[in-house]
Structures are given as C-alpha cells and as structure tokens.
C-alpha cells in the first residue's frame, strides 16, 4: 500500500513552512531515485557511488552552500528560524544514506556557529564559505572535547577534557595536540573544527584548513558504520591559526554541541524512517506460523508498534529542539542555557530511541535483519556509530551531569 513515511509520523507541522515541504519533497524524490530504489547496485559500488551521489546532492543541487549568507554565494539559510528546514533536509537525505547525512550534519553544525545570525563571524566565514560555497565537494571534520589520558591534566569543558591547545603566537595562535580523535571524517576532511583551550584553560573553536602546515593524520580507522565517512586521528604541531579563525568562548562550544545534537538527531531519525519502510515491507509480506501476515499477529504487531513509537518520539524531539533554537522571540539565542541543556538531553534520547527502534525491529526480521542484502543492518550500524561518537566518553554520563547542573545546580567540576 502506497504511503508517505513522512506524513505517517506526526510532528508539529505548524513549525515547518511550505518552502520546506517543497525542498523536502525534492530531496525525498532524489533519494528514492538515486539510492533507495537501487540499493543493491549502490551497495556494490559503494565508495564510488557515495561520492557521486554526494556530489549530486551537494553541488549539482547545491545543498553544500545552503547555510551561508547570500553574499557568500550561499542560499541564506543562516537565520535561526530556518532550523526546522535544515532538519527536514538532513532527515530526507539520511533516509537514503546516513553517511551522506552525517557529512552534511557536520558541515552544517560547524558552519552554523560561524554563519548564523545574529552572530555572523565574518572572519571565519571568509575562511570557510569560499570552500563550502564553491564548486568542489568539501568535507568538514570536528574535534570535540571528551577524552583524556591517564596522568595528564587537561583543561575541561564542563568536565570534558580538551586535548587541543592554543597558545598566542605572532598574529594569532599556535595550535597543538597529538593523536586527537575527531567525531568523523578525519581522514578526508578539508576543514577542521577543533575545540581547543587557551593557556588559561578557556575553551574555544579553531577553524583550520586541512592543508595548513603542521597537520598530520594517523591511519584510517575501520569503523562499525558510516563506512564512507573515513576517520583518522589528527595531530597538530604548532599549526598557525589567525586569531580571527578562533571563536573564543564557552557559548560557542555549547552552541556547537547544540547543533550537533540537533543535526545528528535528524540524521538518525532519517535513517530510522527508511528502516521503517524496510520493516513495513517485511511485515506486509512475511507469513508466520504457516498462516497470516506477520503484521497481523498481535505479538509481532506490538513489536512493530514499539518501533513506530520510538521513531515517532525521536522525530517529535528533533522538531522540539529545533523549535527551541528557532523561536528566538521565546527563547532568545544560544546564550540561554536551556537550549544547550535541552539539545543535549533530548539529543541523547533521540539517538537512544533511534537505536531502540532498529534493534527491536531487527528482532522480527531474523537473519534478514543482519544480512547486508536487506540494508536494515546498515542503518543499525550507522546509527550506533553516531550514538557512540556523540558522547565523548562515559556513555551518557557527561550529558547527565550537564542536566544535573541545569536542574539541580549540581557542582560537579
């Protein structure tokens, strides 16, 4: 039975305008045509077709430049009220391939901190906009705080160890740090966004072109999922960073977390929506107990329902975060701590719900759940990879401590 998976899962549509629906429909159709309807072919020549499709989406259609102001050649989606739109686009893209979504999410998140009104950072935009608004594919990698090593004392961002350091140098800073693990794309990035600390331990974000002198990459890392988003540890050896390319404040780091939670939430939900389509197709066609469709057996139906519920919840939460961010007249901007807290708290939950949905749905698919042929397992590996890279170390603990700080004024550093 034909149905529209996006319309099936309710969300506050009043937050999304007609323009968005138009764009979303276009991406949806593109995804069906270019990837979803030809999955086996796509799977067989994955790395090649991934690049080709990425180019098609980002350059031919032009989504790579979408977030930048028009004066930089972007599409001007750099106001906070465009947030639901960005989320919708990422979701549609990730329905086809969470790897494509992940790459765009990293690009949008890092760009948003610099390009979103009212706090457009001209110098950073001057650095990254020409690359991202040009006619070449560019890849963004982000290095977040989160992991320290025994016997080393690090500056902390809300408890999270920061491994990269900047020290003042002539006309800017010198960036150093060894073997730091990005959340993705390290092996192929053109731009690094590096959360770093100055000698006083204050955190900030350095924007660094990947071809800067003093940057070296470790071996390519084999990963659970996001196969095309090749990662590698990065070392910075006295890399020169102009002072204008460093955004030195806590709020910016919090904002980066916020965008990551939102955008990667959209990616995981997008992957889940395609998983839902796969599962629904399975449930529509599989006979069990020698009679009756799987979807008509009450026990299987209750598992199917659990899958839909988790996805529905994750989707609602994505749009609620985007509402917190986008409704500046209600919530102000990122300086309001509630936005960071809500993005972290619900962002974590979105990943949990997404993974739960796939985990449970796989139960019903038996070996089709883990056979590559059915693609369910790809979504499962991709979403898990996103979930685990988002948390730094210590699973949900860093986020829980953020929540406790907010709600109970816990003193935890």
């Amino acid at each position: 039975m034909a149905y529209d998976v996006n319309e099936l899962f309710p969300y506050p549509k009043n937050w999304v305008n007609d323009e968005t629906h138009t764009i979303a429909t276009a991406v949806h159709q593109w995804a069906d045509k270019k990837i979803i309807n030809n999955r086996l072919e796509y799977q067989k020549a994955y790395s090649e077709l991934f690049l080709e499709r990425r180019r098609s989406h980002n350059l031919d259609i032009g989504f790579q430049r979408i977030i930048f102001p028009e004066e930089y050649g972007g599409s001007g989606f750099n106001t906070l009220e465009k947030t639901p739109q960005l989320v919708t686009i990422l979701g549609e893209l990730s329905r086809a391939d969470a790897g494509l979504g992940f790459m765009s999410a990293l690009e949008y998140a890092l760009s948003a901190v610099a390009a979103m009104e009212p706090n457009v950072n001209k110098e950073v935009c001057d650095l990254i906009a020409p690359m991202l608004c040009g006619q070449e594919l560019k890849t963004v990698s982000i290095l977040m705080p989160g992991q320290g090593i025994k016997d080393r004392i690090d500056p902390l961002f809300m408890g999270r160890p920061i491994s990269a350091r900047i020290t003042p140098a002539q006309e800017g800073y010198s960036l150093s740090g060894s073997g730091i693990r990005p959340i993705g794309n390290g092996a192929i990035a053109d731009i690094f966004g590096v959360v770093c600390a100055d000698p006083d331990g204050r955190p900030g974000i350095a924007y660094v072109a990947a071809d800067s002198k003093g940057i070296s990459r470790g071996e390519e890392i084999k990963q659970t999922g996001l196969d095309a988003c090749l990662n590698a540890d990065i070392s910075f050896s006295n890399v020169h960073v102009p002072s204008g390319h460093v955004i030195m404040n806590d709020d910016a780091v919090r904002e980066l977390y916020t965008w990551l939670n939102l955008f990667l939430g959209a990616v995981s939900v997008g992957a889940c929506l395609n998983f839902f389509e796969i599962l629904r197709n399975w449930a529509d066609n599989r006979v069990i107990k020698g009679k009756g469709l799987l979807k008509n057996n009450p026990l299987c139906a209750s598992v199917l329902a659990a899958v839909a519920e988790e996805i529905g919840l994750a989707k609602i939460l994505v749009y609620n975060i985007s509402n917190f961010i986008g409704r500046t007249e209600v919530w102000g901007g990122h300086e309001n701590p509630v936005i960071f807290m809500a993005a972290q708290m619900f962002g974590k939950r979105i990943q949990q719900c997404s993974l739960n949905a796939i985990n449970r749905g796989m139960e019903l698919m038996a070996s089709a759940g883990y056979a590559k042929e059915w693609h369910a397992e790809k979504h499962w590996r991709d979403v898990k990879t996103i979930q685990s890279v988002l948390c730094g170390v210590g699973a949900e603990v860093p986020v829980q401590l953020d929540i406790a700080r907010f709600f109970y004024e816990s003193d935890l550093d």
Binding site: D154, L156, G290, K384, V393
Partner: protein, 423 residues
Amino acid sequence: MKSIDDFSRPLNNVSPMERPFRKVLRRVVDDEIMPHRRKYDEDWENHEYIEPVIHKLCVGLGIQKALFPQEYGGWSLGQSDYMMALAYCIAEEVGRGDSALSLSSICSLWPVCTFLIPPLVNMDLARELAPMFTGEALCIGCQAMTEPQGGSDIENMDLIKGKTITTTARQDGDHWVINGHKLWPTNSGGIATIFGVPCTTRPGSEDPNDFAYIMVPADTEGVTQSPPYAKAGMAADKNGDIWFENARVPLSYRIHGPGKDALAFKGLIYMGQLGSVGFAVGALMNVYEILYEFASTRTFGNRLLKENDAIAGILGDIAGSIDICRVLAYEVVRLGDDRNKPWGNPIYSEETIAKSRNIKEFICDKAVDVCGKAMDILGTHGSDRAWDVEKHWRDLKMVQLWLGGKQLCQMEKARYYFNCTTL
C-alpha cells in the same frame, strides 16, 4: 587485581577436567585468535585466517570427535555428566576471542548430537560416520534447518508440528531421496562436509512420526551449496543456501526413525541455547577486559573513568550483569547435565527447552545492551574496530536473533508457564 576468572561459577558442579581444558583453550585464544581477529571481517568469503584456527580447534584439540564413542576413536562425551559443562566451557572460552569461530567449531557437532547423546543413541550410525569425524581431516557438520518460507516455524515445533516443512524424504529401495531448499545454517556457504537435514516423509503432516532427520554428506550427488552471504558480523561463520535435488543417502542415515527423530530434533534446540549462552558470555567477558583497560587509562574530568562515580556506576552495572549472565548460563548447563539425575529431565523435555530458551533470551538481550553501552563508554573509540567491542556488539546481535528469535522465546515461556493452548 580482578580478572575474568572472578566471575561466578558454581564450583561444586564443575568437572575436574574443566580447569586444564580451559587453560589450553585460553592459550589458543590468546595466541592464535586475539592477534588476528580484526582481519576476520574481511576474511568472510575466503577464510584464509579463519580456517586454520577452526582446524586447530576441531582437529587439533579434538572437538570434532568428542561426542563419538571411544571404541570408534572419540571421547564418548555424550555419556558424561559434565558434557554440557564442557561444551559450555569451549563455547565461552573460544567465544571470548570470536563468537563466530566458537559457533563454527561447536556447531560442527550439532547434527550428530541427535544420535550421540543418551538416551537417543544410534550406535550403527555412529560407527558409520565416525571415520569422518575422528580422523585428521577437518569435518564440518551443518544442521540445515531453516527453509525459505518458514522463518522460525521449524523451531516452533510445539505449535507448527513440522507441517510447514517442504524438504521431503522419499524412500526409494534402500535409499532416502531428499529434495528441498534450506538456507542460512551455520557452516554452510560451501564449507560443510555433512548435513543434518530435518525434513518430512509426508508434506503437510502434523504427525511427529512423519518428521525425519537424515544425515546427508555434502558430496552426495544432487547437493549444492551457494557461496556465503554478506552479513553484519560473524565472519567466521559461513551461511548460504543448500539445495537437495534427488540427493540419495542410505536408509541408515536417518538418525532414529518415526517419533524419535522429532524428539532428537527438539533436543537440538536445547543444545543451540547452550552454545548461544556460551558464545555470549565469552564475548561479554572479553568486553569486561577491554572496558577494564579503557576505564583505567582514559579520563573524564581529569579522573580515570573508573574513578568517576557516575561512570563507575555504569561499569559496575556492566560487570554485575556479566556475572548474572554467567550464573544463568551455568543454570543452562545444569539443566542439561542433570539429564540423567533422578530430578533431571531429558534435553528435549518441555521444561528444559522452555527454561533454557528463557535464559538464552535474557543473556542475549543483556549482551547486546552491555556491548552497546560499552561502545558508548568508549565514545569516539566505541565504533573503532581496533577496540573490538563493536565486533562483539555486531556478533551478539546475531546470536540474539537466531534460533527463532525473541518472540518465539516469549511464546514458549507463555505456553510453558500459563498453559496457553492457541498461541
């Protein structure tokens, strides 16, 4: 300093053979599996790294002959009151290194469990097949159960009673002629030496007497295997299609005969649960080792992860869960090893099957959960194959899903404890 040996075992029920045997297995795993296991994922089609280890385990350590009678060159393990404990010990120790390797080695014996564990013993067939299993050549058994249309129907014997089985056995003179299509069994995908084939002598029948279990050597004419499928994990276990087209085997290759075949096949369900909990607990113990290393060397808030109360809380929960799984796994062992005791039940009994299914389901759920949580603790290293946790996560998900999966477990439990009649 604690280690995996601090997890619980009911020491009053442990075989004297177990300690030395564990030691040997531990060494094989540490020396010959751990250093290479990261290559296994890419080795799924060729088994270049995998095959030698399977050989070492099955032939070198003798696993493949264990169940055969001593007079035919085996160890007569099926007679032992510690059989299940020993099988579990192998599953667990090898599973610590690689669940799929453990699976592949142990499942090789799965089909012959149908006629080598008292009271369902067929000595003639044992004598006939012993040369394959007790020699120096690797002999890979494969229990070819699932059919394309059926899903978990075939494991659901109590309800479906075999009536959906489409693989047929027709008697023709002094041979059985087998026709049918099976898929997904462990040790198929081209490597099987011999199949155990559940089939029917009268398609559509619900009479257990029409259920047959027949041993079919892979080189029998009319038997074809597909290449292996690509999967999320478990590279050391090849799975594929098997087609039987008028494959002829001697009548004596039917394991017992009407009625008893069905019982013996039900006993395999128990054996499958026993192996599953072994693979899962073994892998979990390795997850503990990895977590121990990681949490003792990485910091959050400039404290070791394990010294942050909140992260330690999760670590404690994980270790506690593993210990609970270990205790429960030994309950599965007990259910089987008590089979000859006055208070015990045969492995094909309703009680043994329902209870072992219950525990298998619990352990697998917990295992997937623990591995996922462990990945999150490792953060950006969690999805890194170099840390091996994600490998266990992928593998154990598959252990969770096989043998009819979770919903069948739920149904069997409900039927057992609530005397449901229509499920």
